[in-house]
Amino acid sequence: MMDEGIELSLTIAQIIQRLRGSHLHSQIERQAKECLHQPDVKLESLKEDVRSFLKTSGWERKLQNAVYRELHIQLPPRHPPAPPEHLKEPLAYMRKAQASWEKRVLKSLNSMSTELGVPLAHMRPAAEQKELTNKWNEMGTDEPDLSRFRPVYAPKDFLEVLIGLRNPNHDSSEDISARSHWGLIQVPLNVRDIPHLREAYSELNLTSGQMGIDDHALIHPAVLCTHSLFCLHLSCVVVMEEDSAAAQQYSRQGCPTGLRADLWALILNATNQPQDVMHYEQLKAGVIQHNLLVDNLIYKDVKLTASNDDYYFVFEDFLYQVLLCFSRDTAVLEHFKYNSATPPKSYIQGEIISVIPFHGFSMYVAPLCFLYNEPSKLYNVFREMYIRYFFRLHSISSHPSGILSLCLQFERLLQTHLPQLFYHLRQIGVQPLRLAFKWMVRAFSGYLSTDQLLLLWDRILGYDSLEVVAVLAAAVFAFRAENLMEVTSLASAEAVLADLSTLKVMPLIQVFLFATAM
């Protein structure tokens, strides 16, 4: 409960500290120096003239975008008493659970290394390095023997951990809330119900136009043209103005296909500056020099998931190029110093690897390959998406976008608005969360058709939250409710929900949020 003025000053100080010494800072300084040559910059009004120059040349906008990004990933400043781990995750028992999960994953990796006799990291011999450099763009043609390697963990293992989570101060002795015994998640987190969601996601209202529905060919051409043209024009303006905040607001109603790549890069402020390219090249050099055990896991994951997928198998090579670099990127860890949750990481013979992939991890990257074909740009966008959103899908935290909150929200939405369905499924021994978990943990990647998936991810970026994933999961159950009410076994329930590739996500979400009887 701090004074607002104090909080603002602290936020400003934090952002200044983070941007000071950054590449943008030196670029702006250089620009400011160079503009001194301009005739309209006068000594008497030096400060204002330099300022207006920076404004008209677009540098002020770049600075705005950088500040905007910092605000996104920064935590609100708190009065000194709160220690850093509290800022990451306020609940002590969650911190403990996350730490023990991380330990378990690492132990699993270490025992795999011992079992297979493969070191966690070793330097590649010179011949191998040369070969890899030549083959960099076609690593998919390699067919290494990966039969001995198995994923460190699968989503269902993680689900068991989430189900077992208990608050030591929670009184579960009485049947105070029968609802908590219906579902699997036993942690009482704050999750939003439909009335609140309607307010928060008002742009998705049935009366507002959405990209992907209202530009469909079935609509009268005259209406279609005007609406589409308007949206296209608006998005062009947003991209030209290079305004991150406007791009984010715009994305809430979906991005036009041709401009999606630029809009997403703007929202994430993932510019492809020379130093970003250089950073990527450094990571690539690291991949060539050392072979990590984790690399084999990445290979295996890509081969098992993305390569088998009708939409994504063409991008196999890109996936290797991104994921192998990502697992070595210690800058990712830098980010987690000041943001919540720490993904499983380890020191391996002096090298830190940042993220230990699990089965299906490559599906976070695959959809992005449709938007970006330049490896370092693809890498930057993926990295931003990961540190803002995806890491929350496989970490234990109380964050509203964390997988635990999403699971609880899914269960609650179903229990509140489809109680008969929930009851029926429980009767036949099926827990709905066990069916929906694999969708949510991958943010539906690999389950929806790509164009629909990208429309969903538009909203994740637009609303800066993964809540839509939980809402969509509930909406899918609502859509298939009739069929689900008739099934009598787990296998048939799974069969009903097996194929989501024909679904149109936005109408489902809109109907669920705005047409459900209250």
């Binding site: 000053s9 100080a13 200044i16 306020p90 101060n169 009184d171 009485e174 809330s177 009482p188 704050n190």
Partner: protein, 216 residues
Amino acid sequence: MTPDDTKPVNFTVKAPVYLQIGDTKADTAHSGVCVVDVNLPFGKPVNIEEVTFKNYYTAYVTVRLLRRNPEQEAPAKWCTALRDLPLMDNPHTERGSQDYYTIHRTQMQVEPDHVVCVRLILRQPSLAWLTFSLEDIKIFPHTEPDPEKEVSDWLSDLTLIDQHPDLEGLPDPQTVSSSIQQMWALTEVMQTNQTTASIGRFDVDGCYDISLLSLT
């Protein structure tokens, strides 16, 4: 705002008293109300700047103060400084349950001066939790602010001040950098004003003589 080096007041906290409903010990039920008394050092009434604590599943807190006015001979009086401040969004769910809080004197409804005792009344109406309390309670005394301090001083206190290293006889970096900048500007000017005239050799009668060189 409290400067970082202000020390909290030393006080004793009595054991929290959880109010019970019911007559006999065997028949009691938790009422969801708990009272924590904080006795400030005897004979040294405090002017409170702020109260900080860490929450543990308390939903609402009421702050009452026992103040004794030193001038008047009247007995000390209790007053309510803050009533039912919500610490948890929803008493049944986790948000705010383990957060750190600060109650500043400006948030209080009365002036927290000459305070002898602080009484915190904690409420947790939800049956979801086994227990609730406040931890790590600290009370910071009010210090008279420097009258000249303005908002702009605030911001400069908060932003990083570059640490000037011990120079030990070396010239001041600022003057060096500004003179370098001047020289750089000179070179820029020279670059833009290049002429095709050749630079005449500074020799006299075919030989260089240092003493004849002049800088123009």
